[in-house]
Subunit: 164 residues, 10 copies
C-alpha cells in the first residue's frame, strides 16, 4: 500500500474501489478550495449529481468534463481519459452503511419501505419509482426557532409493470 | 402454520413479524374499501405515516386510535390495546429488500450515499439528518408528455455532533 | 405447523412466504390437471407470466382473474379477494438459489454480468435494461441431432440515466 | 497499491480479481478505440463472448488469441501467455450485484426463478438448462414510438437428470 | 401460527425466541398497568435488570419470583416453574439491531469501540471490562433549556488477562 | 503491501480503513510517549473523544488541530490538511467485533437492548437516545476489596419521533 | 408447532423444508424396519438415489412409485400425488453444513476444489463435470487391519463450454 | 498491488491467500510445460495430491521437495524453505464457490448430503468418513457413444463417535 | 405456534431444531428433579455426553436408553423410538453463539486457534485432533482464595493426513 | 503486494492482519530453528501462550520481551517497540475457520455448546467461564495401542452474573 493521499473528505485508501478519476477530482477540488456548490454552479449541474461524478457514481458528459477541466485546472486529456467511460456504480457505499449519516437514509428505507410501497401502489398502480429516470436534490431550511433542517427530494419516473 | 388470512396488500404469513394491530387494521381497511389517502385525511395525518402505523412502524396517539376506531369500525378498546404500545420498528423490510419497489430506494442510498454526505456536510457541517425528528411525503406529478413521476420528500432535523 | 398440502410442483410449507392465492391456484391446477401452457393460452397471457401469477410474482388483471376463475372452477369472489392486491415480489426465491435449475440462471448473471454491461453500454449508452418494462419468454428447440435446447428471451426497455 | 490504470470501462483496482489479460486487453482496446462489436466481428465471435474473454470469464482459442493479437497490436507471445490458461470464472461480479444494470438481471432471476422452473419442467421434464453448453446474445430494438429495447437471448442445452 | 397475543411492548410472535415466562410476565404487567419502575421498586431491583428478567435475559432469585408473583398476581408455582431455570441469553435482539433505539447503542460501539479500548487499556492495562460482573442503570436528565437527556451508566469489573 | 509501521496500539496494516491522520497522530503520540489522558487534558477535550479523533471517528476543530500540532510537534499545515475534513465514521470496528474488549460492549447491547428500550420508552415516550447529540466518559473505580471497575457513562439527547 | 413426529433418521420439524412425501416415506420405512439397501434393491435403484428420493432431492418414476407403494404399504394414489411432481432440490442441507458427516464432504470441496479443477481441466479441457448427468455410489471396504473405509464415487458427464 | 504475474492456471493476485510456494511451483511448471500428470508420475504421488501441494493444500515430504526441485529446476534450498512448513489449509476456495466447476461439487454436497449421511449411517453406524485419513482420485472414461465422463473417487477412513 | 412448554433449562420453542427426544427427556428430568450429574452416574456415562444426548448431539446405546427409561420413568418403547436414530448434529447452537457462556468458548477458538495449530503441528506433525474419536470432561476447582474455576478437558485422537 | 516472505508456519500475506511483531518473531524462530517448546521453556511461559504472543494474541511482559530478544537475537529496542502495545486480539482466525484443525475446535463448540452450558450451570450456577482469567495447555498422550491423542485443557475462572 503506497502513500495515503488525503483529499478533502475522500482518502483513496479508505475507498479502495473508487475509480482513479475520484482521486484526480478530489485532489483538484481540495487545492482549489471549491465547494460542490461552486462546482455544480460552474458546470450547470445539480450538487448531488456533481458529487456523484466525483465518487464515480454518475457519468459526465463531454461538456461536464470540459467544464471540470477548466474550473479545476486538470489537463483535459487526462480527465477525459479517466472520466469518459461508463460508471461502475454501487462501489462507494458498503451495505448496511457504517457511516451514521448514510445509515439514517438506510434506516428510513428499512422503516418506511412498505409504507412507501403501499402509498405508491395506491397512487400509481403496480410498478416502481425509477432510480434511473431519476433526479434528487438537497436543500437547507431554517425553521423559526433557528433549527436547521435537511430536505432531500427524490423524483423518479413511474414505471408500470408490463403485461405479457 | 394456521390458515393464511389475506388482507389488502398484506398477508400476515408473508410478514410474520408484524404486530397483531396490522392484521386488525388491514382487515378493516379491506372490508371498508378505503385507501390510505382516505384514512389519512380522516385522521389528519400524512399518508406515509398512516401506512406506517398500519405496518407497525409508527406510533398512534390516543386521537389517532379514536379516529381509526370510528372510521374503520374497530372496537376502540381492542384497537387501543393493540396499538397503544411503543412500536418495535424495523421489522417489516428485510434488508437488502427483495421487493423491487423498495429495492430502488435502497439502490438510491447505495449509489448516492456518499454524494448526499458530501453535500450535507458542506451545507451543515459535521452531523447527520435525523430519521427521528423527521417527516416524509409522497406526491404524484404528471409531466407535459403525460408521464407520471413519483416525488418523495424527506425532511429531517440537522443534528450536529456534540463536542465533548 | 399444520398439515402439509401438496400441490403440483408447489408445497406451501416449502414456500412459507407465498401468498394464499398460490395455494388456491396450484390446488385447482392440480385437480384440473392443466399445464401452464393450457392456462396461459386460455387467459391469453405468456406462460412465464402465468406461472409468475401463480407464484405471487406478477399481478393479475380483472380479466385474468375472471379467466382463471372460470377455467379452474375457483369461486370468482374468492379469487378476486386473494389476487387483486399488489404483489409483494421477490419472496419465492432465496438468493443465492439452492435449486440447481434456478442456480444456473444465477450463474449466468455471475459469469456474464460485466460482459452484458459492456455490450449494453456500448450499444445504448449509460443506463439499464428495465426489469419492469419487461417481458420474457421460454421456447423449446430440437437440434438436428435430436438434442433439446431451452431458449429464454428477455426483452426490457432501455432506460438512460437522467442528467440532473 | 500502485498507480491506478484506467482503461475503457475497466479499472483494475476496481476489479482486483481480474486476470492480467484483462488489463492488457482493455488497455489495447482503449488505445485502438475499438468497440466490442468491432472486435467480435474481427475475430468471428459473439459480442458477449468477446467481452467475457476480456473479463476473464471465457476461454480464447489459439485463433482467437492470434486474431486479438493482430487486431489490437499486442505481442502474440505475451497474449498467448496471459490468455491460454483455463479461466477461473465467477470473479468479476460480487453477488448480489451492486451495479444497477447487473442487478436488474439478478432481480429477474429472483422474481421469475420459480416461474422459469415451472415452465421448463413442464416443457422438458426433470432437469436443467445448461449454463455451459450455452450461448447468449444481445440485440437492440427500436419500437415504433422510437423507444429502445434490449433483447437478451439465452440458449442452453437441456440436461435431464440421470436415473441411477 | 396461533392467535397473536399483544402485551404491553411485547408481542410474542414478534419475538419468537423469548421464553414462556416473558408472555406470563408481560401479560400480567399489562393487566396490572404497572411500569418497570413500579415493579423494580417493589422487588428491590434495578429497572434495567427487571426488564431483562421480563425478556429472559437475567435470572430471578427465589425472592424475585416471590415478589413478582405477589405484585403481579401470578400463581407462584407457575412463575417458579417458568422462571427458575438458567437464562438462555442473547435471544431477544437480532444483530445488527433493526430497532432504531437499539441501533443507536450498536452504533456507539461501532464508532467508539477502539477509542474505549485505547482509554481502558491505558487506565487498566491488558484486559476487559466484564459484562458479567456488571451492572447498568438508566437516568433521565432535564437540561436548563428543558431538553431531556438519557444517561446510561455501565459498570463492569476489570478483568486482567491471566499470564500463563 | 509496503513496510508495516508500528505505532503505540495501532498498526496501520491492521486497520486498513483508518485515515492518514491516524498514522501521523499515533506515530507522534508514541514518540512523545504521551497518554490519551495527557493529550486530552492538554487540548481540553474528553479522553474518549480524543482517542476517537486519533481513530478518525470524531472531528477536530481548528483549536484542536492547533493544540495537537503544538503538543505532538506535528507541522500544523500537515495536520490541518489531514484532519480538517469530515470524518468517515464507522470504519475502525468490524461488526461483530472480534476484539474481546469491544465484544463485551456489543454483548451488552445484544443482551440488554430490549431492556434499555423498555425503560427508555417508559421514561421518555416514543423516541431514541441520540448517538450524535451525545457524549461519553470512562472512569476507573477501586472498590473496598481493591478490585478495579470500569464505569462507562453515555449521555444522549432524547429525540422524540416527529408526528406527521 | 404441532406434535413432532419422529421417523427413522428424519424428524420433520428438524427439516421444515422437506416435502410431505418425506414424512410419508420415512414413517413407512420406520414401521417396516427396512434399510435403504433393502428398498434400493427392491425398486432397482442405487441406495444414494433412493435416499435422495426420500429427502425430496431426486425424482421418482411411475415404476419407482409403484415399487415403493407395494414395498412400504403406502396407498399408491397417495404416494403418486405426493411424489410425482418435480423436486424442489437443495432444501435439505443448510450450507455450510453443521452436521459433521456432511461437513467433511464440504471440507473436501473447500480444500481440494482447485486441485480437482486443475486436474480436470488438464484431462478434459475447459468445462465442468455435470452434477445432473451424474450418478454416485457408496461402498464399504475393510482393510487388512480391520479398519472400515467409506468409498464415495461420483461420475459426471464432461460438459465442454460452448464456443459462441 | 505490484505487477501481476501470470502462471499456468494460477495468477497470484487472483488468489491472494496462496503461499509463496504456489507462485514458485506454478511458474516452474509453466516454463517447463509439464502437466500435473507428468509431475505426479515423476514424484510418485497422486495427481490431485500433487495439484493440492501446488495450491498449498497438502504437505510435501522431504522426498517430494527433492523430486520437485529436480524436475522443475527450482533450487532445493529455496523450495525446502517455502514448502516444508505445515499447510494452512482452506484458503484457496471461497465458499460458496463461484467457479462453476467447483460449484458443481458443492451442489452435489448440498443436494445429496443427507442421502450420503443416511447410507453411511446405515452401513457403518454413528460416525463420519474422515477427510484427513483420506485419499481421492480423478479418472477419465469414454462411453461407447464417445462421451467423456469424469469419475471422482473419495476414500476416507470411517471414524465412529467415541462413547464417553 | 402452540403452547410453549418450559422444561428445566430447555424450552422447545427457543430451540426449534431439537429432536422430539429432547422434550421428552427434559420434561422427565424436570419432574424428577435430577441433575445431569445424577443421571450420568446412573447410566454410567460422562456428564457432558449425557447432556449432549438430551440436546440430540450424541447417540444413546440400547443400554443408555434402558437406563434413562428406568431412571426417568419414560416408557421404554417411546424412548427407544425417539432416541435410537442417528443424531443430526450441529443443530443446537447457532454460530456465532449469542449465549455469553458459549460465546466464551467460541472466543477461545477465535483467539487461540492458530496458537493451538502451531503447538499441535510441532508436537504431532501434519494432521488434526479428532472431534469424533473424542471425549470431553468438565471439572470444578476451588482455589485457595475460594474462587471457583471451571476446567474443561478435551481429548481427541491425533489423525495424520494420509499421503496419497 | 510486495515480495512474500515465508516464515515457518506463517506467511504474512496469508495473514494480512497480523502485527509487524509476528513477522519479526517468526523470521527469527525460523532462522534459529527453535520450536515453541524451546522458546516457551526459555522464557518460562506456556507453549500456547508463547505461540499466541507470536500471533499477536497475547501480551508480552518486559521480561518476556527481554527473553525473546536474547534467545532469538532480535535487537531489544526493535522488539520492545513492536511488542509492548496492547494486543488487538481476534484477528488471526476468520470465523467459521477454514483450517481443518481449527475447524474441529469450532465444531466441538457447535456440537457441545449447550451441553457445556448445562453442566456448568448445574455445577456453578448462573455465570460464565472466563476466557480472560484463563489459561490453556496442550499435551500429547500415547495410548497402549500406540495411538497419539491430543489433550487440550482450558481453565477459566467462574464469573457469576452480578445481581443488580
Amino acid at each position: 500500500m503506497a502513500l495515503n493521499v488525503t483529499v478533502d473528505g475522500v482518502q483513496m485508501d479508505q475507498h479502495p474501489y473508487l475509480p482513479l478519476a475520484s482521486q484526480t477530482l478530489f485532489n483538484a477540488k481540495a487545492s482549489k478550495k471549491l465547494s460542490f456548490e461552486d462546482i455544480a454552479r460552474s458546470i450547470g449541474r445539480n450538487e448531488v449529481a456533481t458529487a456523484a461524478i466525483f465518487y464515480g457514481q454518475a457519468s459526465a458528459s463531454a461538456e461536464d468534463i470540459q467544464g471540470l477541466s477548466s474550473l479545476l485546472d486538470i489537463p483535459r486529456e487526462q480527465l477525459f481519459q479517466q472520466l469518459s467511460g461508463f460508471p461502475d456504480r454501487g462501489r462507494s457505499v458498503e451495505m448496511p452503511p457504517r457511516e451514521p449519516l448514510i445509515y439514517r437514509l438506510y434506516e428510513i428505507v428499512q422503516n418506511y419501505g412498505y409504507a412507501y410501497k403501499a402509498i405508491l401502489n395506491e397512487k400509481f398502480g403496480d410498478g416502481i419509482m425509477s432510480a434511473i429516470a431519476f433526479s434528487t436534490d438537497v436543500k437547507k431550511e431554517i425553521d423559526p426557532q433557528g433549527n436547521s433542517w435537511a430536505v432531500i427530494t427524490m423524483r423518479g419516473k413511474w414505471l408500470p409493470y408490463s403485461r405479457f
